[in-house]
């Protein structure tokens, strides 16, 4: 019931567009701004909560003066628009569209020229709008990685200590045994207290 209600509404929107084009409302202008919203990919990025649905899109003229909804195929139109420079904003949750400056020319019988205010790109008829980027509303949590852990200052310190534990004895081994003996002799003779004797101070 509800679904069929929505479906039967759509043609009505179209119908209103048609007959207002035929009979201009007095006071307002007589031109039409029509365009299409397109997105090459139907579904959003992974993690993007809002899939690209024309149902969610609104096109806003001159900061809320008028609002248009979009047909399933992406088309929209504002009719009864006076000549001048207008601003269109496309609102789609999860997607960023540049606001569009649209010049409706009175001399050229309502010819449209559009200008993306963000990228300064000019587009001419037929107007086709695409999102500039998809919006990722959440910061991505850094995935747990061993490398990341090791690169942190703590990780580096631990790494160095592990290295010291394993490599320093190896260094000792490489020393010539005679040399070693000589060094030990020297150490014994020297009056300065060695590190080892300090540690075992209690027992000696």
């Amino acid at each position: 019931m509800a679904i069929s209600g929505v479906l039967s509404l759509l043609p009505i929107v179209v119908a209103v567009g048609f007959f207002t084009a035929a009979i201009p409302i007095s006071g307002a202008g007589e031109y039409t701004i029509a365009g299409r919203i397109r997105h090459s990919r139907a579904e959003g990025l992974s993690g993007n909560k809002a899939p690209f649905k024309t149902l969610n899109i609104k096109v806003i003229l001159n900061a809320g003066q008028r609002v248009a909804f979009v047909r399933p195929d992406g088309y929209f139109a504002f009719s009864g628009i006076p000549a001048g420079t207008h601003l269109l904003e496309v609102v789609a949750p999860g997607y960023f569209f540049s606001p569009v400056r649209v010049d409706v020319s009175a001399r050229l019988n309502g010819q449209l020229q559009a200008f993306l205010t963000e990228t300064r790109r000019v587009i001419s008829e037929p107007l086709m709008f695409e999102p500039l980027r998809e919006e990722e509303y959440f910061e991505k949590r850094e995935p747990f990685s061993i490398m990341g852990l090791l690169k942190s200052p703590m990780g580096l310190m631990v790494g160095f200590m592990v290295m010291a534990v394993f490599l320093l004895p190896k260094l000792m081994e490489n020393i010539d045994p005679e040399e070693m003996k000589r060094m030990q002799e020297e150490m014994r003779n020297s009056p300065a207290p060695s590190f080892g004797s300090l540690l075992q101070g209690r027992t000696s």
């Binding site: 007959f19 609102v91 960023f96 606001p99 027992t203």
Partner: protein, 859 residues
């Protein structure tokens, strides 16, 4: 006038609907399949004077429709129009010897019904026979009083006559005599008639308000010549006011009889579906029209409230635990799991009805357009209570809700009092206009008192003074610029008199383009206090600023929040310089635009647009600062906090939106004070600030582009004002965008020096960046966003944000990240594991060292 009806049409391509659109100059037939215009009839074709003579349209058969109208004053015209081509097949005129009432005309499937001019007789024609018939109303409905009117609602041959005292349902059956079905007194609402599926049965429902909380649903069903009447009494435990509208819907029961359900719109804009004498569901759609929102603290957790009292009884407590055990063992059914979920939700801290340590749990008190007050819990958004203010409903006349102000905030010695809110409304009718005040308890929704003032409310100003019971003093300004002090007690008068000499206020008249300042002059009369009208004070006009109406029009004003807390008056830079903020509470920001560059910025040129902003001292009327932006136009949104103002407008020349920021620093105080002296307390930061003293402002400004138009603009507020600020923007896509105040810093330069970088200056860009992570509402949309309020939480780092529109949205934000508590993501498990690992390592190494020592000793 635009009437749209639809009729079934059988075409070659199958069944479809034809939409008939009746306007002032055309009757159009539009296909519902592809929206194509099938045909149109101009009013010229129907009459000589060019007016649309067709008043009503009805389907005749599959191929044709009838258009019905009046012939001058005394007759009907019936056009037979081909539904496929719009060709007028025939035009029939039936005249009457008396004048007809032009406002009463209904067309049923088989007849056209009207009244004569005095409303004495029912005049009708049968569409098939086209014979005019008359019946006296008095004879058929003897107890109807006053001149009756035909109601638009009808079903089959049932139509409704509205009298002064009642409505009467009449059946114009095949007998060709109007037959009274039933007359209903009380407040009754008639629904549109519907055709029942299958067969030519019709039904209509009438909702009769029996009492405040009881309604009687009458359903009248026409079955052939018989009329079936059924009634059901439906009660409601929540006060919803009178029924405003009703919609009938039918369904077929298993036994092929017809069942009915009625959708009822109540006075508080809530929707309820009634079926078989019960309310099936209810939606509080009144919450879509919030005009003011405020918050109240929840009650303190009382000592001695034991588990048993919360869990009602031991049995329930046991049952709860048994269910929990079952779900833990995965043997619970779906319902049991849901019950456990509900229990858990109930017992979580988030939804408790008591104050929490961090001040996150609050009551949101909202005032809606319908005059109903709601209180929502911030934990889960549930409605704690909702009620109409009975004092307002009795007042009569068109009621406009004005304000919701915290009257009494539990504080200090009045800690155990309930918070009280002051609600203000005004009634403006042709004969008189007056204000209304009511005091409502925020915990129970009980109306403590309500008064009807003898004057009109122009403005309500909360004063920075409270009486012994922590009731805030308010002055109400009436339309003669008199001030009335509330509460009207001796105590508050004594408190106020001490400050009356230095009480000033100002009024803004947007139509005339003036801002006028007043001073309050001592109590006018020594008369006894009148508790219902306040204590009367006269005022004296001090100054007026008149904006030239041909070049400037006031669009927006902004002031600082009354309850704003500023942590420090000085801003210490890295190079040990001190900037003193200009923190005068009595400053007003005014934005004016060119009157010609009015609403639609699609048609204007930059030359005829400008935006002028002023900063005005509201005590002296002195203009402290003026800045003109050429080629800019509205709508202007502005927010004023501490010593800065951020405002948003449209740049017609660049065709982009822009933000500008103004920051004010007091140069008077800079006299050779550096940070050392400031730290030693040898500064003049504590000196009294007077509006009458010389002001030497150092104003810094900057402008930035912004991609989008906005709907609301506000700033976060924290308990002590230490935390940085975020500008909260209601975006065009109905999302809430939180922009760091540092983006708006006027001291931003293209290449900041090392010292400036240390001050947190961001390199200058021409536009304010919008990163998707800035959206507080993430992918959610707050449809129809109209306002955002911010409230400080107990934690200094956090500000509570409530946005309202058609949807409601509530969240927390921490502008400088959460620095005073652990965030929810904090990894407690890792912390515990680390502690354990360390403990074990200590024990093991201790054992090892003991052993080694023992070995050494044995050597």
């Amino acid at each position: 006038m635009l009437i749209v009806t639809s009729i079934d049409l059988h075409t070659e391509s199958g069944k479809g609907k034809l939409l008939l659109i009746l306007g002032d100059r055309h009757l159009l037939g539009v296909s519902s399949v592809d929206g194509a215009l099938k045909w149109s009839i101009e009013s010229k074709e129907l009459s000589d004077n060019g007016e649309m003579n067709i008043k009503k349209i009805v389907q005749h058969d599959e191929k044709s429709i009838y258009g019905v109208g009046f012939l001058s004053l005394s007759g009907f015209v019936v056009w037979d129009i081909d539904a496929k081509t719009g060709h007028i097949n025939s035009r029939d005129v039936i005249t009457h010897h008396q004048e007809l009432s032009m406002n009463d005309l209904i067309v049923t499937e088989s007849s056209v019904i009207s009244l004569d001019r005095d409303g004495k007789n029912i005049v009708w024609i049968s569409l098939n026979q086209q014979v005019l018939q008359i019946a006296s109303i008095e004879r058929h409905i003897p107890d109807g009083k006053g001149r009756p009117h035909l109601m638009e609602e009808h079903a089959g041959n049932i139509f409704v006559l509205k009298f002064k005292n009642q409505i009467s349902l009449v059946n114009l059956g095949s007998s060709n005599v109007p037959e009274l079905i039933q007359s209903l007194q009380d407040h009754s609402i008639v629904s549109l008639g519907i055709a029942l599926p299958g067969g030519d049965k019709h039904a209509l429902s009438v909702i009769q308000q029996v009492s405040e909380d009881k309604i009687n649903v009458h359903i009248f069903m026409e079955e052939g010549d018989k009329i079936k009447v059924s009634s059901e009494l439906v009660g409601s435990d929540i006060q919803r006011g009178f029924v405003k509208k009703a919609y009938l819907n039918a369904y077929t029961r298993n036994d092929r009889s017809h069942g009915f359900r009625v959708l009822v719109v109540a006075e508080d804009s809530s929707l309820s579906l009634l079926q078989q004498g019960e309310m099936v569901w209810n939606r509080e759609d009144g919450l879509a029209s919030i005009i003011e929102a405020s918050t109240a603290e929840l009650p303190l957790e009382k000592e001695g409230v034991s588990v048993a009292r919360v869990e009602h009884s031991l049995l329930e407590w046991l049952k709860g635990h048994w269910l929990k055990l079952k779900t833990a063992l995965m043997v619970a059914s779906v319902e049991e799991a849901a019950a456990v979920q509900a229990l858990r939700l109930k017992s979580t801290d988030k939804t408790k009805m008591s104050r929490d340590h961090n001040g996150f749990r609050k009551l949101l008190v909202v005032l809606t357009k319908t005059g109903k007050l709601y209180t929502l819990h911030t934990g889960d958004g549930r409605i704690v209570w909702s009620s109409f203010i009975s004092g307002f409903r009795r007042s009569g006349g068109k009621l406009t809700m004005l304000k919701l102000l915290p009257w009494q905030v539990p504080h200090k010695h009045a800690m155990h009092e309930n918070p009280v809110f002051l609600v203000a409304a005004k009634v403006a009718s042709e004969e008189n206009k007056f204000g209304l005040l009511a005091w409502v308890d925020a915990y129970s929704g009980m109306e403590i008192n309500s008064v009807r003032l003898t004057y009109f409310i122009e403005q309500i100003i909360p004063l920075p003074l409270t009486d012994g019971a922590e009731q805030r003093l308010h002055i109400i300004i009436d339309d003669h610029a008199n001030a009335h002090l509330f509460p009207a007690t001796d105590e508050s008068l004594q408190i106020f008199l001490e400050h009356a000499q230095s009480t000033y206020f100002y009024m803004t008249d947007k139509e005339k383009g003036t801002i006028t300042g007043f001073a309050v002059k001592g109590p006018q009369t020594a008369s006894p206090l009148s508790p219902s009208d306040g204590v009367l004070f006269r005022s004296q006009q001090l100054w007026t600023i008149m904006f030239p109406s041909d070049t400037e029009r006031i669009v927006t004003t902004a002031t600082r929040r009354v309850d704003e807390v500023v942590h420090t008056q000085a801003k210490i830079l890295t190079n040990q310089d001190v900037l003193y903020k200009y923190l005068n509470k009595n400053t007003l920001f005014v934005a004016t635009i060119a009157p010609s560059g009015a609403e639609a910025f699609g048609e204007t040129s930059p030359e005829e647009n400008w935006l002028v902003v002023y900063i005005i001292d509201t005590i002296t009327g002195r203009i402290l600062y003026r800045l003109k932006h050429s080629g800019m136009c509205g709508p202007v949104h502005a927010v004023f906090s501490e010593n800065w103002i951020v405002y948003h407008y449209f740049n017609v020349r660049a065709h982009r939106f822009e933000y500008s920021v103004i920051e004010m620093y007091d140069r008077n105080r800079i006299d050779n004070k550096n940070m050392l002296q400031f730290m030693l307390g040898k500064d003049n930061a504590t000196a009294t600030l007077s509006s009458y003293s010389h002001v030497d402002l150092d104003v810094k400004t900057q402008s930035y582009f912004f991609s989008h138009s906005i709907k609301a603009l506000t700033v976060t507020s924290t308990a002590r004002g230490i935390t940085g600020k975020q500008i909260l923007v209601g975006s065009v896509g109905d999302q809430i965008l939180a922009l760091d105040k540092r983006f708006f810093d006027p001291r931003r330069t293209a290449e900041p020096t090392q010292a400036e970088k240390e001050d947190g200056i961001i390199p200058l860009t021409d536009a304010i960046p919008i990163l998707p992570q800035f959206y507080l509402s993430h992918a959610y949309r707050v449809e129809g966003l109209r306002g955002i309020i911010t409230v400080p939480a107990g934690l200094e780092s956090t500000s509570l944000v409530f946005a309202y529109g058609v949807d409601l949205f509530y969240t927390h934000t921490a502008p400088s990240r959460i620095y005073d508590s652990l965030t929810g993501e904090f990894n407690y498990a890792l912390l515990l594991i680390t502690i354990f690992a360390l403990l074990i390592a200590i024990i093991i190494s201790w054992i090892l060292s003991e052993r080694k020592e023992l070995k050494e000793k044995w050597k």
